[in-house]
Symmetry: C2
Subunit: 201 residues, 2 copies
């Protein structure tokens, strides 16, 4: 019965970027809406005992080629960020803050950050580069205030804790109702879950 895709994401994950390039189209085709759930992947790793795949060097090498293959299949630009991994705390607080304070700007914020991270790609761990990136997307002084807002900080922690409680161990993770899908390579299953729920409506 759910026509919503909950999208638990962290900008630091290249496969999450890939999922983001496809999800809006899938949602549109299925008549579903995306519920954006910013979380801190580092917090998820810490809570679950999981780790980035690149901590196994052979896996990291294979993944670079695998992501390139998927980007080609999807027909989307991708450049592995040479500054990876980048601390995304401010960026994820920003996502929560924009969602709370300027919800109409969230899509633009998410696009600006994903592009800067995985297309251009920039070192968003550098405060100056980050400020410049956000300013050129129209996010200026007010942004500094929202990422420092205790309510915003607490909301990001709450999202991350909820994710872990519901079984999330990595990113991207999508939920359709209670059904959980991990990985950009499971989008066809997300589509099927939406189709199935449409049929039972």
């Amino acid at each position: 019965m759910s026509r919503t895709i909950e999208f638990f994401f962290d900008f630091g994950s290249p496969t999450t970027y890939l999922a983001w390039t496809q999800l809006p189209r899938i949602a549109a085709e299925c008549g579903a809406t995306i519920e954006w759930r910013p979380m801190l992947l580092g917090g998820v790793f810490k809570a679950t005992g999981n780790a980035s795949p690149v901590t196994v060097p052979a896996k990291g090498r294979w993944m670079a080629g695998d992501i390139a293959r998927w980007a080609e299949r999807y027909g989307v630009p991708f450049a592995f960020n040479p500054h990876f991994p980048i601390n995304t705390l401010t960026l994820m607080r920003g996502a929560v803050g924009v969602q709370l304070r300027w919800p109409q700007d969230l899509a633009r914020y998410v696009e600006a950050v994903f592009r800067a991270m995985w297309v251009e790609p920039r070192n968003l761990g550098e405060p100056e580069v980050l400020a410049q990136t956000l300013a050129s997307a129209g996010f200026d002084a007010g942004f500094t205030d929202i990422v420092a807002d205790p309510e915003v900080k607490a909301a990001l922690i709450a999202n991350t804790e909820e994710a872990v409680r519901r079984g999330v161990f990595g990113a991207p993770t999508m939920f359709v109702g209670d059904e959980m899908f991990f990985g950009q390579d499971r989008l066809e299953f997300v589509r099927e879950a939406l189709g199935a729920s449409a049929e039972t409506d």
Copy 2:
């Protein structure tokens, strides 16, 4: 130019079972042959620093459902083996030994073991259960000799070392020429690689 799929496998991996249910059909459709490469997944994990996904409990829980979804999509039987993980040393030596001594029986051996492990499922870590399983597939006394054969033991080690040298970090892993594909969820890419190599022949 390669019309061969090298299939690095270990019977202990449920996703490798899933790949095995699909590969012969894909090979037939692409006019390719499968080169069976038994390896010891435990050795690969040790050499690469990788570990079974189930070492992260949340990941293991999700994988159980994920494998069930793929089995349903493929239309193949699957039952998670309650004795998992099972030490596969004898089984993998058996694969190498059958391949060396009775190559015409390899397909039957592989099928008997995968079915016993992931369909019935039996505790193949128990010597008695193992012996019974093999006997009912027609592998009897001679089997004990081949798994004790130093040449067989060395060949399994050599396969495992070669896998690691070529970038393998888990199972199943397929090679088409130099291109490596990890996971039963990458079979479409294997098919594309075979198609592409057919076109350039």
